[in-house]
């Protein structure tokens, strides 16, 4: 008997008892569906966690350079380098931080003054509550413009500050051009305890003409490694000494997050996999019942000339088909459920192609594996005994 015939027989047998076939498949549908859903959701959660960390700067690379008399990194060259590698690098800003005494009339405080480039705001995903940020023109002209944090606004102006007011940094008058939206909790030493000024002014304030620190943003957290590599090559080319520059990022943290979440997703997938096993046992159970029920049929087939492998393939193919159809329905079910739950939780969850292939492969294997035993039982039936059964 040909395989195509065995398929036809199996399909007919499945259609012959639709309710039972569906209930048998249900185990498979739930098993495959839950594997796909859990793995997909876990993937979504991982992406969510990583994007949350990305807000904190997982795509950020800090570069510190010890400029010497003969070898130094020029700001414009650094900008040009980042622009050349815009495939993986998003932007760069010099970052010159020092603590200074800041005064408004007789009120004074000490805070961190950071000299920045015009892209600092977007690189760090910061927002302003009013005014504007430091501009390229400010930097070029060393215009004394500053953007203050909410803590500084409270301490120096008791919160009543407007654009155009002035303050003194280290004795020099600066115009407030913008106010940063509250980032932390408006306390001392929080992210709101800060003032931003053009990096050119900051360099002058600190008395050194060269910029020693930069923050570079990679396009994506995944690009950080590659970005570090090209930066390393670039800086070594200029400095000729590894000790004169230092590159750091959060890749290690990222890797930890990745390994943790992938472990979690394996555990959850494994738990869901147990339901696949249960589904397989369900299929085996039904096939065993089916063999007993159809003993007479098997007897007739054998009397008429069916060989062992004919009976065997009939039952194995039936079990495999049940589990493959169940697996396919499970994939659809899992796909929809992942989408629905992902939307409900506000996670961008998509079922992974890997988990779909894996779930389908496992369901087919389970069908064949668990169908084998009942099929073997059927194939071994003695035709005389089988014919005599009712």
């Amino acid at each position: 008997m040909k395989i195509s015939q065995a398929f036809k027989l199996a399909i007919r047998s499945i259609l012959g008892s639709k309710m039972r076939s569906f209930l048998t498949m249900l185990g498979m549908i739930i098993g495959v569906g839950s594997v796909i859903t859990l793995v997909g959701l876990m993937q979504g959660v991982t992406n969510y966690i990583i994007s949350t960390f990305a807000d904190l700067g997982t795509n950020m690379i800090s570069v510190n350079v010890t400029n010497t008399d003969t070898r130094k990194v020029d700001v414009d060259e650094m900008y040009a380098f980042v622009k050349e590698n815009s495939a993986i690098l998003e932007g760069v800003t010099p970052q010159v931080s020092s603590r200074y005494t800041v005064k408004n009339g007789s009120t004074s405080m000490s805070t961190t003054v950071t000299g920045v480039g015009e892209d600092y705001l977007s690189i760090h995903n910061l927002e302003l509550s009013s005014g504007r940020f430091i501009r390229y023109a400010d930097i070029k002209n060393r215009y004394p413009a500053c953007v203050i944090g909410t803590y500084v606004a409270q301490e120096l102006f008791e919160g009543k500050v407007s654009i155009g007011d002035t303050l003194k940094i280290n004795g020099q008058v600066y115009e407030i051009v913008g106010i940063q939206a509250e980032e932390g909790d408006s306390k001392e030493n929080s992210t709101d305890d800060c003032i931003y000024i053009p990096y050119t002014n900051a360099a002058r304030l600190s008395g050194s003409a060269d910029i020693a620190s930069y923050v570079i943003a990679a396009k994506d957290a995944d690009d950080v490694k590659a970005a570090e590599k090209i930066l390393d090559n670039y800086l070594y080319g200029i400095m000729k000494n590894e000790d004169l520059y230092y590159i750091s990022s959060m890749t290690l943290l990222l890797e930890t997050i990745h390994s943790t979440t992938s472990m979690l997703s394996s555990i959850l997938g494994g738990i869901a996999g147990i339901s696949l096993l249960v589904a397989g046992i369900g299929i085996m159970n039904i096939m065993l019942v089916s063999v007993v029920e159809r003993t007479k049929e098997i007897g007739i087939r054998k009397a008429i000339g069916a060989k062992k492998k004919d009976i065997m393939s009939q039952f194995v193919i039936e079990a495999a088909l049940i589990s493959c159809i169940g697996g396919t329905l499970g994939i659809i079910f899992g796909y929809l459920l992942t989408r629905i739950l992902g939307n409900a939780f506000g996670i961008e969850a998509a079922p992974s192609v890997n988990s779909i292939f894996m779930a389908f492969g496992i369901s087919a294997a389970i069908g064949i594996g668990f169908g084998y035993m009942p099929a073997n039982k059927a194939a071994k039936l003695n035709p005389i005994d089988a014919l005599r059964s009712e």
Binding site: M1, K2, Q5, R12, S13, G16, K296, E297, I300, R301, K302, A303, I304, G305, A306, K307, K308, K309, D310, P383, I384, L387
Partner: protein, 249 residues
């Protein structure tokens, strides 16, 4: 020892279609040995119509299973169409059943989830025949039994007599050397029984070899040769004319 008598209608070929030589079938029932067949010698030539009769427990079912290649004897030799079947196993026996034997059972034994023509095609399917050829041979077999217009029907849409004729068509489809009928009229009323037996006689007249197992004297009298069994032994092997005169068997 040779109880076979030469039938006037049988052809004169030297080698008979069926040769049973000292067949023994012993079942172990707990501590006791049951000799279901105890030294059966029987030859059947091509074209014969033989009825094997006996009461229940006479061993006629056992000998039917052996002749039908459903079972093998404990000892002795069974030669069917020059093949020694007695030592065969599983798939080899299945092949013998498929190619050489057409079964007609008491309970028709059509598969209820397949329609008539698919049932008739079944032996051809297991013989590995292609669909077109299967269809045409099955249709021809249905035509022989007069059911060609019912080919689409499922067994439960047919009367008992029609189902049994369907089963005969299935037995004929593969053009087997031997038609083996086990109480073929057991589930039929007397009118349809008579019709079926007429049909079997007609098949025999056309040259088919038929072995019929029955406990019913009226059925056995439709054959041309009757073999009587008792306690696993042959006690009678004569023409049907002789059988009619016998009261004991």
């Amino acid at each position: 020892m040779n109880t076979r008598r030469t039938d006037t209608m049988a052809d004169n070929r030297e080698v008979p279609l069926i040769q049973l030589i000292d067949i023994q079938k012993i079942y172990q029932m707990g501590d006791t040995e049951v000799r279901a067949n105890d030294g059966i010698n029987l030859s059947i030539r091509e074209g014969e119509f033989v009825a094997i009769v006996g009461k229940s427990g006479s061993g006629k079912s056992t000998i039917m299973n052996i002749i039908g290649a459903l079972d093998t004897p404990t000892a002795g030799q069974y030669i069917l169409k020059e093949q020694d079947v007695s030592k065969m196993k599983g798939d080899a026996l299945a092949e013998v059943r498929n190619h050489l034997i057409g079964f007609i059972f008491q309970q028709y034994n059509l598969l209820s989830k397949q329609n008539l023509i698919e049932n008739v095609e079944l032996p051809l399917l297991y013989a590995g025949m292609g669909k077109k050829q299967r269809r045409s041979l099955a249709m021809e077999a249905l035509r022989k039994v007069g059911l060609e217009d019912k080919w689409k029907n499922y067994p439960n849409q047919l009367s008992g007599g029609q189902q049994q004729r369907g089963a005969v068509a299935r037995a004929l489809a593969g053009n087997p050397s031997l038609i083996l009928a086990d109480e073929p009229t057991g589930a039929l009323d007397s009118k349809t029984s008579g019709e079926l037996l007429d049909f079997l006689q007609q098949l025999n007249a056309n040259g088919n070899t038929i072995v019929l197992i029955t406990h019913d004297r009226n059925v056995a009298e439709r054959a041309r040769r009757v073999v009587g069994l008792q306690d696993g032994k042959i006690i009678f092997d004569e023409s049907v004319e002789e059988y009619r005169k016998q009261v004991l068997v």
